[in-house]
Symmetry: C2
Subunit: 353 residues, 2 copies
Amino acid sequence: MAVSPRVPTLKDVAELAGVHVATASRALSNAQSHLVNEATREKVSSAAAELGYRTNALARSLRRGASGTLGVVVADLANPFIVNLVRGIEQETRPKDLLPLIVETRDDPARLRSTVQQLLYSRVDAIILAAAHLSDAEYVADLAGQLPVVLAVRGFDEQGPTGGSLLEVMQDDLLGTRAAVEHLLHLGHRRLAEIRGPQTISSFANRSRGFQEAIAAWPGAEDLSPGLYAAQGDVSEGRRIAAELLAIPHDSRPTAIFAHNDLLAVGALEALRDAGLSCPEDLSIVGYNDAPLVDHLDPPLTTVRLPSNEIGRQSARLAIAAIDGQTGAAPTRLMLLPEFVQRGSTRSFAEAA
Amino acid sequence: MAVSPRVPTLKDVAELAGVHVATASRALSNAQSHLVNEATREKVSSAAAELGYRTNALARSLRRGASGTLGVVVADLANPFIVNLVRGIEQETRPKDLLPLIVETRDDPARLRSTVQQLLYSRVDAIILAAAHLSDAEYVADLAGQLPVVLAVRGFDEQGPTGGSLLEVMQDDLLGTRAAVEHLLHLGHRRLAEIRGPQTISSFANRSRGFQEAIAAWPGAEDLSPGLYAAQGDVSEGRRIAAELLAIPHDSRPTAIFAHNDLLAVGALEALRDAGLSCPEDLSIVGYNDAPLVDHLDPPLTTVRLPSNEIGRQSARLAIAAIDGQTGAAPTRLMLLPEFVQRGSTRSFAEAA
DNA sequence: TTGAAAGCGCTAACAA
DNA sequence: TTGTTAGCGCTTTCAA
């Protein structure tokens, strides 16, 4: 790196253009350049171009009292669904000159707090939180007292001290789950089980609720889920729990499994293979999320697709509206629709038997 | 959001503690708190705690002339390899109180420029660039004249006007490719082909070079690659190009394919299926990257794993060293080693025939 | 339409 | 060990 002469400031631009810094500031600002003489504005612009001037966002933010940044807290960047969410956010923030600051919690409550601190310290103008655990309700409610907070994907389900001041953009887990489970029921399956993700996360808690409700509403349907919960929503946990299920004698074993996400479903697929069984002949499996490549598995996974990009966009819109002070104008809670995706990992029970 | 009283400043803390702001500043700073009387420091700390004071990073950065942020430019957040890179970076920046600002280019040269502008405007202290195209050499060289730039994963291969001032952390594509191709050759394959990613990206250009060199060095080995290049490294392009290959009459058709990444390999798998053929019986396929779930495909994909987390860590270390002004002290170019991963998508030619 | 002046919140000489 | 002072680069009243 060559030692550069020095980064030019507005003062340099003003001097070169022969005007006061205030004038230079106005000339360069979109909102105020109309207050400036055409010719003067030209002079300033070309001076800025000549020097390679670039506004110092730090100084501008300090002076304006707004940083022009938006905190985005996600649990897991490796979750492809999250990437679409982030991109949706970015699509909305770009035209507004807002910079998303992305931090990751890895589903660790301590990291949620420390990353949020980091964002507050950076003076983000709002936060989109897609990483909440149910137990974070109080913390988040308090946070929402300090700056606008949009809860994305994961919420608190009316429980806890959420004072109604939170904005939310959710996806209907109950609906998605019902579509998946009713698909299995329509196929003739009656002995079902779910592989549950951590119940500290609203999405998984709702999927469990949706599963139970769907079973209860269907005469003759039974829930055979083991009393186990996945510690994480990953392949190895799916495998572990499915193995328990497969240990049940054939006659009373479930014929179909609803896994709370695709990785758990892939684990179930593995357990099935370990047991010398196959899908969908011996067992039907449904996942959730429609992760990349699950359509290329053997068999291609039946699953539920989330409107992740749209969740991101709507979250960003709510955040922007809140920053602009339009409290109350926008709806407080948006519920978007998931889409059931039928593929090869499910088949009718009659056929299977 | 309740209207909060006002965010407390250092002045508020100082007043409550009954000291000057400068003293409060020192007391709260790690580097200078030793200059402050134990009792005074206590007073300041508890005043800060009482008010819920949080340093304003904007003001601090402006004053210090360093933002405490590190720009991270990636091509594609959906690439799982990139997530590990980002996490590696984060592991190194966290203890240093540096905040990574992550932006995505989607492999669009215009977006590379606009996102970098965004970072410069935010006054990042350095940039880690994992999204370069070969044609960006000049632009990046110029950028490196303005602030420390670390090139990760993708470089410029000595071509172009890179004045040697750039830091680089690469992964040895030549070596990884050679391992993959020699694996195929040892299995008895002689008619090979590659499915090339966009040659404007150094990784793919090097994989192609590695492929050609490995073939050339092996007596009797032939390259049957079609004169086609994938426009993107995705499944549909892999499928398209593999279909061309499979249109060749059986006797002269390649018996093994080296795909420049896993998605291209998955596309080849699809094309094979489309043609009513199977892998590895009719064709061996190797990918690159070891993406999630490729070990669960049918067949599990033989591939090459990148040390992505380590690339991230090393990149961050170089960036931090450069920020701290340790130019020249650290090596300028690090080359890390990939790891060949043998799975089920490759088998010996004899067996196959 | 432009300039003067103040100040966002903080830190770092320098002085006491 | 603490206070004084100045100023990082910018925007925004207020006056002219």
